[in-house]
């Protein structure tokens, strides 16, 4: 008769659990990659729609390219974020995780990191597509684009993951997620658009740096706050 093993079981540290949740979400994302493709197509369509709103004017389009790119990314991000807790709720998986027990912080950071990875890829594609469509000539070093892209995506992903969990049980999730998330990420979007714009158009006064700082602060605040508040949100 085997002695019960769970008493001496060593539940991994929550950082290790975070990594495991991250991997799980990425695998899940890969299995359901048709949804990611749909997001990319949606974002691409948004880019086209913006150019129809402005008219076939390459100078104007190139001037505002940064804004169109980030708006497309933000709008399509809600498709990803609203899915994020649907897969957890569909078969009671989230409750299963909490009862294992998995630390709520691990669930939040794991899922937020996974959303960050997918969002960064999406934003990257949209950025390249937007620059191509709007004939943007890139002056700055590509790595500087990558860092702004990563910071901007992270700024959507942390509050977005928290609000995805918050709205997952509301009757009107598809509606409430953007209603709550969009006003919240305005500073982040502003900073990302400005910083990207300065990279495109050149930055003689060196203003891009302060926008990058704002992005970093926004991220620090909401990544920290999410970890603190998520436990409350999923508590029954």
């Amino acid at each position: 008769m085997p002695e019960s093993t769970s008493a001496e079981r060593n539940i991994p540290h929550w950082l290790i659990q975070t990594w495991q949740i991250l991997v799980k979400d990425l695998v899940l994302g890969w299995r359901t990659r048709a949804k990611v493709v749909a997001m990319v197509v949606f974002a691409g369509t948004m880019l086209l729609l913006f150019s129809f709103a402005i008219g076939p004017n390459n100078t104007l389009l190139a001037k505002h390219a940064a804004g169109y790119v980030w708006l497309s990314a933000l709008l399509s991000s809600t498709l990803l974020l609203s899915q994020s807790f649907q897969v957890e709720g569909e078969s009671g998986a989230l409750e299963g995780l909490l009862l294992l027990p998995v630390d709520p912080r691990a669930i939040f950071y794991g899922k937020a990191l996974a959303n960050w990875v997918v969002l960064s890829l999406l934003t990257g594609l949209v950025l390249v597509g937007g620059f191509f469509l709007f004939s943007v000539e890139i002056q700055a070093h590509p790595l500087r684009f990558v860092s702004i892209l990563l910071l901007g995506s992270a700024g959507i992903s942390a509050p977005g993951t928290l609000y995805s969990a918050l709205t997952a049980r509301a009757q009107a999730q598809q509606l409430m997620l953007p209603v709550l998330l969009f006003p919240l990420v305005i500073p982040c979007m502003l900073a990302a658009v400005k910083a990207t714009g300065f990279l495109i158009q050149g930055d003689p006064m060196d203003q891009g740096g302060s926008w990058t700082m704002l992005l970093i602060c926004f991220n620090l605040i909401y990544w920290a706050l999410g970890g603190v508040l998520f436990g409350k949100v999923v508590d029954e």
């Binding site: 019960s4 769970s6 079981r9 539940i11 299995r31 009671g92 998986a93 409750e95 009862l99 294992l100």
Partner: protein, 230 residues
């Protein structure tokens, strides 16, 4: 540390749970010694699921106290959760992953080493790469049993084990409950299959409108049911 014979695995006093203006569970006193198989019987809405979910710490009680493995669940939820397993009416799995992948994820999160394939074989599932979404309801049910077994709980809380299963599945659940007991696991089962389950359990309680109206040897629960609904 295995719970000694003197300290019950579950010790609930006046456990009550309210949903809005309705008491789903009203002052339930319950003591379950280690190794016992307890059957919970009751009509729909009598509070079976609420009782199991409260015992599992998935939801908290509105009133009353609950100690599991001698620990107060309000202060030691994490330690309690590490030692119990709940099989709820939802399979608690990811439908876009395969059976093996699901089990692997849960074991890794729990820090359990070793292959998971034996658990699939034990519940009669093939090791296949297809996502769970393609499984039938009965296969999904078997997978959630595998998930419970792989967790190696000391206390297993099982909500309607026979649901969605075919006759072969019924026999499989019978064996499985017997195996769990043989391994020293304390088992609490809620089921509508009274005639089947009463032969497998030691003791039964009969719930009616959130209250325990009868408790006694499991084999007599059918008679108690008849008296209640006469």
């Amino acid at each position: 540390m295995t719970p000694s014979a003197t300290s019950p695995v579950v010790h609930a006093q006046k456990l009550s749970r309210r949903y809005g203006a309705r008491w789903a569970l009203a002052e339930v006193d319950l003591e379950v010694p280690a190794g016992e198989r307890l059957l919970i019987v009751g009509a729909n809405g009598s509070g079976k699921t609420t009782l199991l979910r409260t015992l599992s710490t998935a939801q908290s009680a509105s009133l009353g106290s609950l100690h599991i493995f001698g620990m107060d669940v309000r202060t030691h939820a994490v330690q309690v959760r590490a030692r119990l397993g709940l099989l709820s009416h939802l399979p608690q799995i990811y439908r876009d992953l395969s059976g093996v992948e699901n089990l692997r994820i849960f074991n890794r999160l729990l820090g359990i080493q070793g292959p998971v394939e034996p658990y699939l074989e034990r519940v009669g599932l093939e090791v296949r790469p297809d996502p769970v979404r393609t499984y039938s309801a009965g296969m999904t049910k078997r997978l959630s049993f595998a998930r419970l077994l792989a967790q190696k709980p000391e206390l297993a809380l099982i909500d309607e084990p026979y649901g969605q299963l075919d006759p072969a599945g019924f026999a499989f659940v019978d064996t499985l409950l017997q195996d769990l007991t043989d391994e020293g696991v304390t088992v609490i089962v809620a089921s509508h299959q009274v005639d089947r389950a009463r032969h497998l359990c030691d003791r039964a309680i009969l719930l009616h409108q959130g209250q325990v109206r009868w408790q006694g040897p499991a084999i007599d629960v059918g008679r108690a049911w008849d008296v209640l609904h006469a």
